[in-house]
Assembly symmetry: C2
Homo-oligomer: 776 residues x 2
């Protein structure tokens, strides 16, 4: 195993590479030409415009002010400067709470590290077991770990006590964080201005009725069963029904027209640059063959045809009763009525007339709105079985591909390739890359596979899909990355051996291997954690793509807006990865505390980087109000319990078995703590209390007595394809911007202020920040 | 092991003893003197009166009509005659659905038995394994079981196929039954006449308010947050709040006065029989010492003192704000409003203002209404841990008592007893009885212990307490009776060996022992099942107690009413015992089908007996509308999955391991089936849909527009001690009787008709059924 020197060297290399990334980032972000790659959020908010043409052509692309280069790291304090309330208003509660996860890691592990280094490291160091063993496989690093304590030594009392201290501290921090996040969410919901989803309920599984259309049936049902006061007496005024239409053909047409629009824009762009010759194209697929025609005329006429087809199709499905799906967004006059409808059972058959809070309009996953109950139930069963096989048997198809991908395999299956394969360079490429590449490709597409599985499961909102995918990914990481690294062999072999071992043996088997893997995981944290975060901030792929698009496609300001790829925090993949670092920290806290500083560096670095990204870059697809926190909390508890069980397994092999029973209350109490927290806070993330609803209703009635709610809700939940020609609109409804309340004004003031501070280096260049309609 | 002849003999003996019980029952029930023991339900309903005095003194006690003795078994068809709808009206849905569990057993096992005897018995019988083994431990019975099939034989395909058929059939029957019961419940709720609990919500954890009393706080909170239409504008008319009072001292006084009343009645009774001398008593405890006084005067004066104390105490706690508990029964004007309040969250803090459907007034468990959330959470944790130790370690204290109870132990602890112990008779008694008696006493008080644990857990209704106790008892039976009989050693030893075995070994260990235990369980079914049921119908203890009370205490008709002990179906203890028979049937269906006919006889016999008891005897304490069915269903599914796992374990030891994997989908699909059923039906047992509520509200508004709801609800949820002097009233509110709707009339007509049929033997005597106010 690696010595302290080896780890130090490795740390130095990784730190250097991380700093190289950071330096590159600091240089690139100062160039005005990259401004839209590193500060897209401000452009989307409309606060920052392109530099003016009037300045020198050089300064428009390159930053020549040398003072800004000296302070190349000042984005870090800038990122930390924005206070949390402003951050929530600027980037949304989802993002603000997400970066709190990193902060939580710091809060949790800094005291644990101090304690572990103060108590456990001296205890381990003076254990003097490994010094007596004349074995090269041990090094100074292991002397700091629990391996250095002789079996049966009373020194283990220190470890047992510390696991209790760590558990108590972790639970305390988790409790406080849950409380804080729950309060943040409640405040957020209370402060929120009017949004369509506050007044809307998603009704699914509307039963068929022989006499009525779905539309009529829904209207009658809610007129009868929901406050006649609200619906019947003033139905045309207060309530509004929007039945979701099944319009896949139309969606295809719209997508086609969008593609045509892109081509047309491209050629118009070309023509504008060279007004002397009109651009031509060929009529075949992709413009590569067929007769040559005038490109702009060709695409304009194609656009016309598609527009007509679209109108016909739209008319057709509007009138076709078969394309109406048995689901509806039902809106109510008051938040109280909405809360009541969303939380109660409507019909004695619990599989029809299912009501739930409507997701935000841009959060709706339209494809899953009309799945019948039985089908949904079968889909979930199949996905669960598939997930099990994916986690435990994913190596089987990959091993199969790998076996095909070796030389003999290919020669056997495709004998005619023999002469090619026997060429020396081809041979070495195949031998070197192919086997690894199959696994790499699988790991890259894994999040997509998991997301597809979640979609098959039939959840109705993007946020829910993200949460479910994160859950799946978490288990994949636990089994295949964590256990897979500790125990050799594939997950399936592990499963088999676990089934053939007594349940008390499993923590032992895993626990014994843990101290030996400390250096491996330290390297992992540095390569995957540190360097990965540094790469995140550099944004190489969006940088390249933006410049390519900007060179070839962009013509108007709106096109450039679209060419930006701000990206977003991908909860489904990044949250489970953070959980993995929590798991490592908790498992190694009492076993090999040397790992903890690396974890702390990771959390601190990631906190700063993601805070910067959230402020300047990411543009979230939806806002769920930190709805995911119960999942984060639950997974943290799972990590904690895993660490406790492994500690029990480890200690029971140290001739300390009797005392190990003292650790038994830990998982039980932790589980109880989980149940307690769930009862205490979870409903804040899934239900909307009537009291709050009543307060908001009363307030609204007092401030806006003449509000036309029906008009307000009319367009909110229209399927994207029905939105007419404005398919380029980035968001379905952007309430924050079009809202007349006072708060919004404060928002833009606040964000402007922090914008100027956060990107002080960019504003320092005299070129930037003077809005002009056209450039580059 | 026992041969077929042995089992036959045992069956004959048990059948004979069961018939002896039945004969005794048939004889005793024909005597008019026992009429109140065997038909108390009809007396409680007020349909049947005591025989008149005018007839001969002999015929009042003994039935002299010999024809009725000839038809001594005709109570059986009589019990089966009452159709189910009448049964529901007569005895309540709880009882009607409860006896359906036995019917479910018949529906499930009759086809399974036919199939098993048609297919598996021939396959096993011709297996010819045991014939080659010259071992006396095998008998003909084992030749019918799976033990007779040679390892690795393709005959096991028959067993695998049959387990699938059995599983499918069981699931089908369970699904149909769940559907039927859910529909029965919905029909029952829909047909129900107005009851206070339909309009009432139990609110718990009312937060303290510095400015207001709980009473005011509750009123204000609901006025603000619940339909202002209902509460605020017409609050004094439509809504009614009843805060539950903490009145334990008063309850004690009332109990004392009740005891005094009993004594007074006893002496008045004595005096009436011998008017010549006034009875005397002594002033000391229990009337055994102290000065001699006139008994009637003494108790009358004591009663007076207590009544005055009671009045003072009542006044005191009425005015003492400290005795008001933070809980309330909040009533609403409409069922819709009640359904909304019960199903929604009121406050952003989910641990205060907790709302749930109020239980029936007589179902309320008053002591648990005011437990704070944190305390409740800790109580549940402690009870769970205690239950675990109770199930797995209950043998430890009993073994300790047993070790004390042997001769040497007693001599050591209490040396002065030595001469007594060494007497021969005392010695044999101690050696023979004491060790067994400790276990027996424990098993008798076990249901009480479990009920106490459920009470500590803090549930608020008797029905819920029953359901939770049943759950605990079920697990106790599974671990200690089922596994304990199959594997030797205490549960704790089993647990230890299971923890040290691989999880795949457990079904193997248990599975292998199963075929060998078939004869043991057959004997168990006959002794515990057949004879137990026969003893149930004889009601020896209530019979003796009634005659004792009747002789010494009863004076007026009302006293005699109270002397009757109709008993009730004790869900908490009897349902888990039925589950045990289901478990045996499912486990042995494919292993040793010979056991199945015994199970069928049990279910058929129990069905008839309990139908008779429900019609003629039992008086339920509450009516929950078959609220327990999801529990019954879940436990049946657990039994099914246990049987599947054990079958897998058994087959994997038969050199058939590869094919055993084919059984793996069984538990997964069964679990999915459980989830599906829960989603499909469970809410019918816990929620009240708004649609139904609206229908009932509308109907009520149309039929009774001038109903004074406030007056109606005024007295419904008053704590028993506040009900003034009528503490003898057997039920708090008996809606069925005092209800003016048409249905009730039909009820009494119907029940009268079936009364006369069901107890035709009794009515055949010319003495019975001519109501008179006083006799015996």
């Amino acid at each position: 195993m690696a010595s302290v020197q080896d780890i130090g060297l490795s740390a130095a290399i990784n730190l250097l590479s991380a700093f190289a990334f950071l330096f590159a980032f600091a240089m690139l972000r100062l160039q005005p030409v990259n401004d839209r790659v590193y500060f897209p959020k401000w452009y989307l908010k409309g606060i920052r415009g392109s530099p003016t043409r009037s300045r020198g052509i050089m300064t428009r692309f390159v930053n020549l002010d040398w003072t800004t280069y000296v302070k190349f790291l000042n984005w870090m304090p800038a990122a930390l400067k924005m206070p949390e309330p402003e951050l929530i208003e600027h980037a949304g509660l989802d993002s603000a709470v997400y970066i709190r996860i990193y902060l939580l890691g710091l809060k949790m592990f800094v005291p644990i590290t101090l304690l572990a280094f103060g108590v456990l490291v001296p205890v381990n160091w003076t254990g003097e077991t490994l010094e007596n063993i004349d074995d090269l496989t041990f090094s100074n690093v292991d002397k700091l770990s629990i391996s250095n304590v002789p079996p049966g030594s009373p020194r283990f009392w220190a470890h047992i006590t510390m696991t209790y201290v760590f558990t108590l501290w972790t639970c305390y921090i988790l409790y406080m964080e849950y409380k804080t996040v729950a309060n943040m969410r409640l405040r957020h919901l209370a402060a929120e201005s009017r949004r369509p989803d506050q007044l809307t309920v998603l009704v699914r599984n509307v039963p068929p009725d022989p006499d009525e259309s779905v539309n009529e049936h829904v209207e009658h049902f809610f007129c009868v069963n929901h406050p006649d006061h609200y619906l019947c007496h003033q139905a045309r005024f207060f309530s509004w029904l929007n039945v979701v239409y099944n319009a896949n053909d139309l969606a295809k047409l719209v997508a086609q027209r969008k593609a045509m629009q892109n081509w047309l824009t491209y050629y118009e762009n070309k023509f504008e640059r060279k007004p002397s010759s009109r651009p031509t194209t060929k009529t075949g697929y992709g413009g590569f063959w067929g007769t040559t025609v005038d490109a702009i005329d060709f695409y304009t006429s194609k656009m016309d045809i598609l527009a007509r087809q679209e109108a016909v199709e739209r008319e057709k499905i509007m009138n076709d009763p078969k394309s109406i799906m048995p689901a509806a967004f039902v809106s109510f006059r008051s938040r109280w009525g909405t809360a009541v409808c969303a939380q109660t059972q409507q019909c004695h058959n619990p599989t029809i007339w299912l009501t739930e809070w409507a997701p935000e309009p841009r959060d709706v996953f339209w494809d899953n709105l009309a799945i019948p109950y039985v089908e949904l139930s079968i889909r979930r069963l199949l996905t669960t079985v598939a997930l099990f096989f994916l986690i435990f048997c994913f190596m089987i198809p990959i091993a199969f591909v790998q076996s095909l991908a070796n030389l003999e395999g290919i020669q056997k299956v495709l004998p005619f390739l023999k002469p090619v394969i026997e060429m020396k360079t081809v041979k070495s490429v195949i031998q070197g890359f192919l086997p690894g590449i199959a696994l790499k490709i699988f790991l890259i597409i894994l999040p997509t596979i998991l997301m597809t599985m979640s979609q098959i499961e039939g959840y109705t909102s993007l946020s829910y899909l993200d949460r479910r995918s994160a859950e799946k990914y978490f288990w994949f990481i636990i089994v295949n990355v964590f256990l897979g690294s500790i125990i050799t062999g594939t997950a399936f072999q592990q499963l088999k051996s676990f089934l053939e071992q007594p349940p008390t043996e499993i923590p032992k088997t895993v626990g014994v291997s843990i101290p030996m893997k400390a250096t491996f995981f330290i390297t992992y944290i540095m390569v995957d954690g540190w360097a990965g975060i540094a790469a995140e901030i550099l944004r190489v792929v969006p940088l390249v793509i933006f410049h390519l698009k900007n060179t070839f496609l962009v013509k108007t300001e709106q096109d450039r807006q679209q060419a930006m790829d701000p990206g977003h925090l991908d909860f489904a993949t990044s949250e489970p990865r953070i959980q993995f670092y929590f798991l490592l920290g908790l498992v190694y806290a009492a076993v090999a505390p040397i790992l903890l500083p690396f974890i702390i560096v990771f959390f601190a670095f990631a906190y700063v980087v993601f805070r910067h990204q959230v402020i300047n870059v990411y543009d979230q697809k939806y806002e769920s109000g930190a709805r995911y926190w119960p999942d984060v909390h639950r997974r943290l508890i799972i990590c904690l319990i895993i660490s406790q069980l492994l500690m029990m397994g480890l200690l029971s092999t140290k001739k300390f078995a009797k005392v190990t029973a003292l650790l038994l209350p830990q998982p039980i109490l932790t589980f109880w703590f989980y149940r307690y927290c769930a009862g205490r806070f979870e409903s804040a993330f899934s239900k909307f209390p009537l009291q709050e609803a009543m307060v908001k209703d009363t307030l609204e009635k007092a401030t806006e007595p003449n509000l036309n709610l029906k008009e307000y809700l009319k367009e909110a939940y229209v399927h994207p394809v029905f939105k007419g020609n404005d398919f380029d609109r980035p968001r379905a409804v952007d309430e924050e911007e079009s809202n007349p309340l006072v708060r919004t004004k404060r928002t833009s003031q606040g964000t402007t202020r922090y914008n100027s501070e956060a990107s002080s280096s960019a504003t320092a260049t005299p070129v930037a920040n003077t809005g002009s309609p056209r450039l580059m």
